[in-house]
């Protein structure tokens, strides 16, 4: 099962970087592009995933600021993003995911040299960093929910949970994939000539990282309108006097 997830169920095909002479194997003739079909397939998948996240980001950006407008018009409810988003906390999460990209590429360098110990150490580090990120996201969602931000509370909540939730789902799949590679390696199933399988998993993992680079900027760092929801101004607005 783990081997099937890790993509190692069949005998090794290509190896190394999956380009040039490595793209072919005795059992598999070289491809016309000179690139291993599995690697090209992963890049094509990532290309399609750009459009998937593009549509989610577009929706988020279209509705960005609408929750505040509705609130000011007395037709929406909070909490609003400027009350909830914790930049220092999310910065740590972003840093963790960024560092997981480094550990992933070090794991690849390890298996390419045939250093199984290095591969296992860095792969497990990547899994732990990915799990830390997911734990942080679960905690953030939990906190927001207890602050009153349910999925359908306002336009911010729906677009925020959908965008970051789908990203979290991608991270979860990546953690499962890497954990499978780690387990298979313990059973002797990952060898130097199968480094391409690790590289393909790494491409997916790095993609998850670059999507978060975009989300971190667009969702968290670009400031939101500061709408008063407490105190005298809020009371006046609620009475229709503002």
């Amino acid at each position: 099962m783990a081997q099937a997830i890790a993509g190692l169920e069949t005998a090794p095909h290509g190896a190394g970087t999956g380009v040039g002479h490595d793209a072919g194997h005795a059992d598999h003739p070289p491809t016309s592009t000179g690139i291993d079909s599995r690697k090209l397939g992963m890049w094509l998948f990532l290309t399609s995933d750009c459009m998937f996240f593009g549509s989610l980001i577009a929706t988020y950006m279209i509705y960005r600021g609408r929750a505040e407008e509705l609130y000011l018009a007395g037709q929406g409810k909070g909490p609003l993003p400027h009350e909830l988003l914790d930049i220092p906390y999310t910065s740590v999460s972003a840093f963790v995911l960024l560092m997981s990209s480094m550990t992933m590429v070090l794991a690849l360098a390890g298996i390419q040299k045939g250093d199984l110990r290095s591969f296992r150490v860095w792969t497990m580090a990547t899994v732990l960093l990915g799990a830390t990120f997911l734990g942080g996201q679960w905690f953030e969602f939990h906190e927001f929910y207890h602050e009153g931000l349910g999925y359908t509370t306002n336009m911010f909540s729906m677009t925020f949970y959908t965008l970051t939730g789908f990203h979290g789902l991608h991270v979860t799949l990546g953690v499962i994939w890497l954990m499978s590679l780690f387990i298979v390696s313990l059973r002797g199933g990952v060898k130097k000539d199968q480094a391409l399988n690790v590289e393909i998993a790494g491409l997916y993992w790095h993609f998850v990282d670059i999507v978060w680079i975009v989300i971190f900027t667009l969702v968290y760092l670009i400031p939101y309108k500061d709408v008063p929801t407490e105190g005298a101004e809020h009371a006046l607005r609620a009475m229709g006097l503002m």
Binding site: L46, T47, S48, E69, L98, M102, V105, M155, G202, I222
Partner: protein, 122 residues
């Protein structure tokens, strides 16, 4: 074959790097990660500089820093700097299509806004 399909020239790697088949070694990866970490710290620091908010420089600066991080990860960690150009063009096509999708939707909804709040629009 790879050369014929536009294989990039051999990458520059550090002398003590143990590069593998055109990919940089561990030292290069660690240096790149350190640069990415510094950019992330810069992003957070400028977020707390009030002048950046007041001058309107915050959003463009954040977008540029984000783009630099994005490009660095795909160039070094995803090896597009070292792999055949075909992969770069394939991915750039996806990014361009995704960006066009975002801009088209934003333009569409800006020109034909949905009247969410009845007392907001004239």
């Amino acid at each position: 074959m790879a050369q014929a399909s536009g294989h990039s020239v051999a990458p520059h790697v550090d002398e003590h790097d143990d590069a593998h088949e055109g990919h940089p070694g561990e030292l290069t990866y660690i240096k790149v990660a350190a640069i990415l970490a510094m950019i992330t710290v810069s992003e957070v620091v400028i977020y707390y500089i009030q002048w950046m908010h007041d001058s309107g420089a915050l959003v463009p600066t954040l977008l540029v820093l984000s783009a630099v991080k994005f490009a660095t990860v795909i160039a070094y960690f995803m090896h597009l700097k070292f792999d055949p150009r075909m992969l770069t063009w394939t991915f750039l096509f996806g990014i361009a299509f995704g960006a066009a999708l975002i801009l088209a939707f934003i333009a569409l909804f800006n020109n034909h806004p949905i009247q969410y709040a009845t007392n907001l629009l004239p």
